[in-house]
Amino acid sequence: MAGLTSLRNDTSLWRGGRKPRLRAGRGTILVVSAAYFAVPLIASVVYTVDDPVKGFTLSAYTEILSADGFLSALLLSLELATATIAVMLLLLVPAAIAVRLGGPRLRAVVEVVCSLPLVVPAIALAAGLTTVLKWGPEYLARTPFYQTIVALQNPNFPIVLTLAYVVMALPLAYRALDAGLRTLDVATLMEAAQNNGAGLIRAVTSVILPNLRAALLNATFLTLALVLGEFTVASILGFQPFAVWIVNGSNGAQGSVTIAVSVLSLLLTWGLLLMLSTGGGRRPTHEPRPTSGPHNEKEGTT
């Protein structure tokens, strides 16, 4: 930092004429970007409160709750999110810890498996799922599997969506957890706990997990945001959680209610994620990596 500051001073002495221009350029970029990112939000809010006939009104927001199907769609999304987060944590936390204890080959396997969903876009996954679900009536009608296929698509709680969402959340969630574990010396912590008489489960729950709070929160929030905003798979498979409801609802007449719901859900999700980036700990994938101990660095290079 000191180096940067001194450099800047040098520049101003050395080439005084350029600095204002550079500054103006920087200012222009920042202002134009800020405008581009702020205007759609502001305009959406204006759109919802400004009625061409009545003038200022908040009716778009008050009508949301009574809108047809809104509550059930939101409820479905929240249920799906809860189930997805639970399954994701149950599968990933043991695996992420195990990767730190096991050899490099185990680590490579888990990393590849968790990155696989990146190669299959959501729409392709949805296409695969529709094919599988069609097997039910076509081939499996007389076998016990048929009941499984039917249960997967229960419209009150479509398990198949949870399965898809866990898969889609794997890359983000694994990276969040792994970044948290990278700052811990898991092997030593586990050994210390076990030398003090803790069992395996107790060592994990009372020593490792409390140290992982920020990473767990990161993974949870990212998954929550993903599920609440997910449209592709749900709409292709014909279910109606929140995001699908917004689009279907827009075919009806009440444009401003749809926009109001969109604004609220944007603000809500952004608020959640912002809380995560300021309060619950840094976004590990994007911020520069936290300085890790010498032990971890060595492990990284081998």
Partner: protein, 296 residues
């Protein structure tokens, strides 16, 4: 030396846990095999098979689906997606680099923090609500469209360039996040050394900074291309079907809007997408490693 230390560590401490460690991974692997493996294989299988007399009849292998997916309207959609993704990725790379550089060189810590937080949020969440925010702003009845009379000037949000404008909203922040750590890694000494050797700012960027940044810029570009290529919700909510895109076309065929005997073309197009996404990853991962070499 590092390798030795690593090997010794692996041989002593953690080995006691290894058998247990393997078991802890098993549920994850099983889950992925079922929830991801089965649909993926079903897609692959479906892309290469057909049952011409409708569902339930004899199935035989064919490459007809793949051929069909690269012809006519399906091919137009693929090209449309590639064109849109290339355009948006290119613009976002340039704008993202400029924005990140503006943030890095600014002296305000607050600004940096704000831009990074906002980028993390914006890059992660777009989709349907974002599309509708733009509809309210620049759509036919949008606030700006009405107040500035843009519709009379021939503006339409439901077009190729409308989509570009919306995609930038989540792609530019993604680029900022991707490139900012590389910009931080540009050492002051390099600039000083270039200056001392009489280089102008332009020469410094042309011969020092950009070559060092190139892998991470290219990696970012490829990543943006991949995100834009796979995006569906935004386009579906905004343009319906007025811009040909491969994701919209797949959804269309899955919904049953196809000629008889072409039911599996949607699966073949999905396979096309997987191939493109695979190529993106194959380019991105080595570039990511390469950029880590200079910019520690």
């Amino acid at each position: 030396m590092n390798a030795n230390t690593g090997r010794r560590r692996a041989a002593t401490g953690p080995q006691r846990h290894q058998p247990l460690a393997r078991w802890a991974v098993v549920p994850l692997l099983l889950f992925v095999a079922i929830a991801f493996g089965i649909p993926a294989l079903a897609m692959l299988g479906g892309a290469f098979t057909t049952s011409d007399a409708g569902p339930g009849t004899a199935v035989h292998y064919t490459t007809g689906n793949l051929t069909a997916s690269l012809q006519g309207a399906y091919f137009t959609a693929l090209l449309g997606s590639v064109k849109l993704s290339l355009t948006t990725a290119l613009i976002s790379t340039v704008v993202g680099l400029l924005l990140a550089q503006a943030v890095v060189t600014s002296r305000h810590g607050m600004l940096r923090h704000a831009v990074l937080s906002a980028s993390g949020v914006l890059a992660n969440f777009g989709g349907v609500p974002l599309a509708f925010a733009f509809v309210a702003t620049l759509g036919n009845a949008g606030v700006l469209t009405q107040h500035l009379g843009l519709d009379k000037a021939g503006w339409s949000l439901y077009s190729f360039w409308g989509l570009v404008l919306v995609y930038l909203y989540f792609l530019v922040p993604l680029m900022v996040l991707t490139v900012i750590s590389s910009l931080d890694g540009l050492r002051a000494q390099w600039r000083e050394a270039a200056r001392n050797n009489g280089a102008t700012t332009w020469q410094y960027w042309r011969y020092v900074a950009l070559p060092v940044l190139a892998p991470s810029l290219l990696g970012g570009f490829v990543l943006l291309f991949g995100s834009a290529f796979a995006a569906y919700a935004t386009a579906r909510a905004m343009v319906g079907a007025s811009v040909p895109l491969i994701t919209l076309q797949i959804a269309n065929t899955l919904g049953g809007n196809v000629f008889a005997g072409q039911g599996n073309v949607g699966l073949a197009m999905s396979l096309d997408m997987v191939v493109v996404a695979g190529l993106v990853m194959a380019v991105y991962i080595p570039l990511q490693r390469r950029s880590a070499r200079w910019l520690v």
